[in-house]
Homo-oligomer: 419 residues x 2
């Protein structure tokens, strides 16, 4: 089946937000045999929306629409779809009840506007929304499928995963399976040189590299007929994956498309390795990413964002002489911060970061982008000096990646030496 | 003039990247009198690209294309545009010379493929590319304008700013100016009820609400003839803006499209109000967002991510009895955390957060989404109880917004009572 994603919202045409919904939906559909050939965006305007919908229905089997399901007058998606497809909008009492419950649960007042959201086209498959007020729906009409989902990603994603993906999975003749190898510590060109011959001779699976900030992802994609026992996408991918792993070794940190903080948190949790953090230039970014992971409280004891020298001295036990002699951004301070937080928290690992994220504060000797990452355990402290480029945000984000990678590699070293 | 942005690239349809080029271009065009009515994305496929281009030329005066100008066989944009418009591709010797110079300057070898990039449609306005090898161009044909730009944002943006913006500015009869009012603490429907009559009677400026996670933005857009001294877009917006401000009061936190952490950080910095944070469920997200702001070290002293009871006791001075009697997630613990961090850091403000972000850890009495935000100053502590919905990430992000809003309101109260 060929699909088009049609986003509705003037805020997209004004450049207030990027169309990340189209990106998300596109990344997920191939796994259930749906190919995305077009994205379109149109504003909150009934005439233009109608035209776009007609174009989409002519060239695609499936039209997935996002946005325009809100309670205001601007929100026209349902009305326009019903009109184009010749369907009536019906009040769903059960949806209205759920909405009332949602408002009372979140201590908010339901307005008359919201009642509009309980209307959906006749005979559609309702997609419940547990994170907001606008339900979605799947409409099957004349060999076409039209799906409406709300615009906010936090509402759209669970609805898409819980209802839309299973809906297509049950219909699909082909399936694509992708495996994502995620790589840190080696650049895209250097990596490509190591696997050049594999990339050049690719057929099934295909191999596609993609570089993003500080890291590289390799996507291996195999195509199989469903119900065909001879063809197992996983088996097609396996030999190529093994060869790439042999060549890239521990630059590969995940074969499950997990990000570096997830992989690191899993290693901490699986091995019951406790940790505490002391952050200067990253200002809590490392601890906030670690604590994004549910259950991390079992191993994450505390974090200190030691933005002032006093905090470094009082909360971490960094020596005043060290700060005076070497400065807050130095190998020596990083070392004492890591040892300090480990002692204070009584954890297996103490991680510390100090650096100059910019844009101000750099000197010839200590330029913007100079960062020290230190990791202490009972055998000592290791300090890594980084020279990063980019703006403040990028320097902070890449520092996080290096910090997580240090933790990951240290736990893997422990495990390896024990076996 | 009405414009459409047509992006070419299978990587967009695979969801590997979001179409941030469309967002950027859309945000810039209204200022030079060009209205964006459609975005489209199509893959590296000549047949489908041709169809999309024909649709765009039919419904829009201007088509801005991004991507597909590279040296490989996949890159089809120029060939397809030339074909559709009936133009020849001509080798531009001067572009070839520039490309050769670019390769030698960046120490790279130029391949035969690259020569293809020196061909452009006859009679077009060339857009030089100082950051890559693919030049762009502007084609004027039969009252339509087609513009081609390369896909990488680091190449596209300077070309767009240096050539495309001046091109339209010189032609424009109208210009649009927008003002963004950002609102926190009131839902989209409740807000709309307060300004319903203004929305219904809108003409110039137009008023468009947009809800995103936890907050609402109102966009006011005025349209003016260029060169017309009587018409000043700012002046057209002003009375409507004043009326909205009168009705929504301090729910409006920014009239400059700044986000809540920027506004809060500015208030802290402008008034030299020092602060320290104690975070439990947000795990450093508040401090990491505050420290995104350059120069914040002048007022941000430290943050404690007190993920364990020990950290709450040792680093913040929370009483063990309080934790035992009321629990870590309680009004009482939040209060002691806020007072504690303020005492430890010696700052004007102490902000604390404790809650259950989920997915585990909730009980009937203390469900997932129960969060306490506390703010201590020399006059006492204020604790706010929140009942949030959504996943772990959303609960953490919305908690941050409430925390920043408490700080913002407290500083405004101080200032108001002083004047």
């Amino acid at each position: 089946m060929d699909a088009e994603i049609l986003a509705v919202g003037t805020e997209l045409l004004m450049g207030q937000i990027a169309n990340t919904n189209a990106q998300y939906i596109s990344s997920r559909l191939p796994s259930v045999g749906v190919n995305v050939y077009y994205h379109s965006v149109v504003g909150d305007n009934a005439g233009r929306l109608r035209k776009c919908l007609n174009i989409a229905l002519e060239r695609s089997d499936v039209v997935i629409m996002t946005g325009g399901l809100g309670p205001t007058k601007d929100d026209l998606t349902k009305e326009t779809v019903a009109d184009v497809l010749g369907l009536k909008l019906i009040l769903h009492e059960d949806i209205l009840d759920k909405m009332k419950a949602y408002f009372s649960r979140t201590n908010r007042k339901m307005t008359d506007n919201n009642i509009k959201q309980a209307y959906l086209p006749e005979n559609c498959i309702v997609i419940n929304n547990d994170n907001g007020t606008a339900p979605g729906c799947i409409i099957e009409k004349d060999d076409k499928v039209v799906i409406m989902l709300p615009g906010p990603p936090s509402e759209m994603k669970p609805m898409f995963e819980d209802t839309v993906i299973p809906y297509f999975a049950s219909k699909s003749q082909y399936k694509l399976a992708s495996k994502f190898l995620r790589i840190f510590g080696i650049g895209e060109s250097a990596m490509e040189e190591l696997i050049m011959d594999l990339v050049e001779n690719q057929s099934n699976p295909t191999i596609a590299p993609y570089a993003k900030e500080g890291e590289v992802t390799l996507r291996l994609t195999a195509r199989c007929k469903t119900g065909d026992n001879v063809c197992d996408a996983e088996e097609i991918i396996k030999p190529v994956e093994e060869e790439i792993k042999r060549r890239l070794g521990d630059y590969i940190y995940s074969t499950d498309n997990k990000n570096l903080e997830e992989v690191t948190a899993e290693l901490l949790l699986q091995n019951n390795v406790t940790i505490a953090t002391a952050e200067s230039c990253t200002g809590g970014l490392i601890s906030s990413r670690l604590t994004d992971i549910p259950g991390i409280s079992k191993v994450f004891n505390r974090g200190i964002v030691s933005y002032s020298n006093e905090a470094k001295i009082e909360n971490l036990g960094v020596k005043r002489e060290t700060l005076e002699k070497y400065g807050a951004v130095s190998r020596e301070t990083a070392r004492e911060m890591a040892e300090g937080i480990r002692n204070v928290a009584g954890t297996d690992l103490g991680l510390a970061v100090t650096g100059i994220a910019g844009p101000g504060g750099g000197t010839a000797e200590k330029p913007v982008g100079l960062v020290y990452v230190a990791l202490a355990d009972k055998f000592g402290v290791k300090v890594k000096e980084l020279r990063l480029t980019g703006d403040r945000g990028k320097i902070r984000r890449i520092t996080c990646l290096h910090a997580f990678d240090m933790i990951r590699r240290r736990i893997l070293e422990w495990k390896e030496n024990w076996q």
